[in-house]
């Protein structure tokens, strides 16, 4: 049954090749692949929730020499999340990409990216992580440059170079780790790592690489152009999933593998950078002229919130409060993934139908594209963190942890960030609801609007009301590297 672990990786990989070889039928192949992957991820999650973490040594090779796949509550949750978002964005793209040439180029790359993403979530050793990280970066860059517009290519190229640097930093860290401890297996490393210079430098290198890929302030400058100029479904996945993959690695390393090595000071540093990301990103989003640029800067800000959790988790002693904070972190990441992808998809609809995405010229959108504007509103509610979204509960816990640990510094940061987010969301809505004369919109496509709407509903309603299950699933021993069943 552990062979189940290979499915979320093999299915998109196989179908990617199929789409490449059979370009005429690329779209049905792609959609089928995404559906199958979603089923596999759901099944995997269900098994993990019932039986605990799963481990598979590929080919029977022992971990250390061979590739190990590992799924616990955290990785299977993120796996499920990425399958859902990818499927929704995939359905959306059937309406977005009309020309057969575009479709033939899109689907193999899309499925390749899903392969890399899922393999990353399921990796059990550093070697595999490096490979999947690179694969993810390359396919994301190729997708971002799809369409060939100058701005998109320029931004994608910069993303590529910086991504490569990040991976090299990561690899340098892996090198040092191997030099110091003689193994690449994550579970063994967890026991071996000790607070000493080798570990510190290795951690610093790897974290730097990952921070670059997560676009934490001040290493965020590549993100807004790349996400704003990519095609809409690509932007959705870049913001919702790709940066989250790097963040997931950071989380794993910080909380689990390098648990004994990290210092409170380093956690505080991450928190400060996160706070600056929240404020700077929200401010830039408020000043943005284009909707997609606003969404990209909003991603920078929202990722900053995730980093605020680090000093809090460092200060909370192990127990219920810490578990709750951890669950809130994951909930925040999930809500953002759904809400941001919904936002980008909705923006794509507007861009297609109106020919532009300038915020000030959005007048009349509410009447012409009611479903899309509603999606924008729902996604916006989740980004601000208003009830009943999942982000509200997550922010509640964030405030609560900050107050409980006496780290009052974060309270005004979160409050200001939320108010700024409200300002930029309602700015969009204000313009969208303004009446406009003589604006023509083409009729909107159900294939495009519906996935966006469903994603937004997930963020704002489902996660708001149904997240207790998430907490129960993820927290008791969520990140504990368990034994294989």
């Amino acid at each position: 049954m552990n062979n189940l672990l290979t499915l979320p990786v093999m299915i998109p990989l196989g179908f990617s090749l199929l789409a490449l070889l059979w370009p005429r039928r690329a779209t049905p192949v792609g959609i089928l692949a995404l559906l199958a992957t979603l089923l596999a991820s759901a099944w995997l999650t269900w098994r993990v929730s019932g039986n605990g973490p799963m481990l598979l040594a590929l080919g029977g090779w022992e971990p250390g020499l061979g590739i190990a796949l590992y799924a616990d509550a955290l990785s299977s949750t993120l796996l499920l999340m990425s399958s859902v978002v990818a499927l929704a964005a995939g359905i959306y793209s059937t309406g977005y990409f009309r020309a057969p040439g575009d479709r033939a180029r899109f689907w193999p790359l899309w499925l390749l990216m899903m392969t890399a993403l899922h393999a990353l979530f399921l990796s059990g050793d550093l070697f595999n992580l490096y490979v999947t990280l690179e694969l993810l970066g390359l396919s994301a860059v190729a997708l971002a440059a799809l369409g060939g517009k100058r701005k998109a290519v320029e931004a994608a190229l910069r993303y590529l170079i910086l991504g490569l640097l990040g991976s090299l930093l990561f690899l340098a860290g892996v090198t040092l780790t191997y030099a110091g401890y003689g193994t690449l297996d994550l579970m063994k490393l967890r026991d071996l790592l000790a607070p000493e210079p080798v570990a510190w430098i290795a951690l610093a290198l790897m974290i730097s690489g990952l921070l670059l890929k997560t676009a934490l302030f001040p290493l965020h400058f590549w993100l807004p152009p790349a996400h704003a100029n990519a095609p809409a479904p690509v932007s959705a996945v870049l913001s919702a999933l790709v940066v989250k993959a790097a963040f997931y690695l950071l989380l794993r390393f910080w909380l689990e593998i390098f648990e004994d090595v990290v210092t409170a000071f380093a956690a505080w540093l991450l928190g400060i950078l996160g706070a600056m990301a929240v404020l700077w990103g929200s401010w830039r989003a408020l000043r943005a002229v284009r909707l997609k640029l606003l969404a990209a800067y909003s991603t920078v800000a929202q990722l900053g919130y995730l980093f605020l959790f680090f000093p809090l988790l460092a200060a909370l002693p192990a127990g219920a409060a810490r578990d709750t904070a951890l669950g809130a972190l994951i909930l925040m990441a999930l809500t953002h993934a759904f809400a941001k992808s919904a936002l980008f998809l909705a923006t794509g609809v507007i861009q297609q139908k109106a020919g532009h995405d300038r915020i000030e010229d959005l007048g009349g959108a509410a009447r012409a594209l009611p479903v899309t504007v509603f999606t924008l509103a729902l996604a916006g509610v989740a980004l601000i963190g208003l009830p009943p979204s999942g982000a509200f509960l997550a922010k509640w816990q964030l405030f609560s942890a900050a107050i409980a640990t006496g780290q009052w510094l974060w309270v005004p940061v979160i409050a200001t960030g939320s108010l700024l987010a409200a300002a930029y969301v309602f700015r969009i809505l204000g313009y969208a609801f303004a009446p406009a004369e003589g604006v023509t919109y083409r009729i909107a496509d159900g294939r495009e609007e519906l996935p966006a709407l469903i994603l937004a509903i997930l963020a704002t309603l489902l996660l708001g009301f149904g997240s207790v299950q998430l907490w129960e699933f993820v927290t008791p021993g969520a990140l504990a590297a368990g034994e294989a069943p």
């Binding site: 070697f127 690179e134 340098a172």
Partner: protein, 94 residues
């Protein structure tokens, strides 16, 4: 043995640092792509140094596997970067 490893390792580290700096600072795209490659070469050199177990023993295969993978990745990434750069040039000519 340690000396050999140290020499190659430090050289690798220096190459890594030089490449890193150039990639961040230089303006020209081609220069930056090359710098990334040099940086990568530095890491690979360090890995090879780690694999060395003395003249008598066979070297450790795991870092070698990492290097090989890294080279493949570097080549593919460089190809992609150059293709994108070519595309940019074409766009400029239009």
């Amino acid at each position: 043995m340690i000396l050999t490893q140290l020499i190659f390792g430090i050289t690798g580290g220096l190459l890594f640092a030089i490449g890193l700096r150039s990639a961040l600072v230089r303006e020209s795209l081609l220069a930056r792509i090359l710098a990334v490659n040099i940086s990568g070469a530095g890491v690979f050199l360090a890995l090879v140094a780690i694999a060395y177990r003395g003249l008598e023993e066979t070297p450790d295969p795991i870092p070698h596997a990492l290097v090989l993978t890294g080279i493949v990745v570097a080549v593919s990434a460089t190809a992609l970067a150059l293709a994108l750069r070519r595309r940019l040039e074409e766009a400029d000519d239009e």
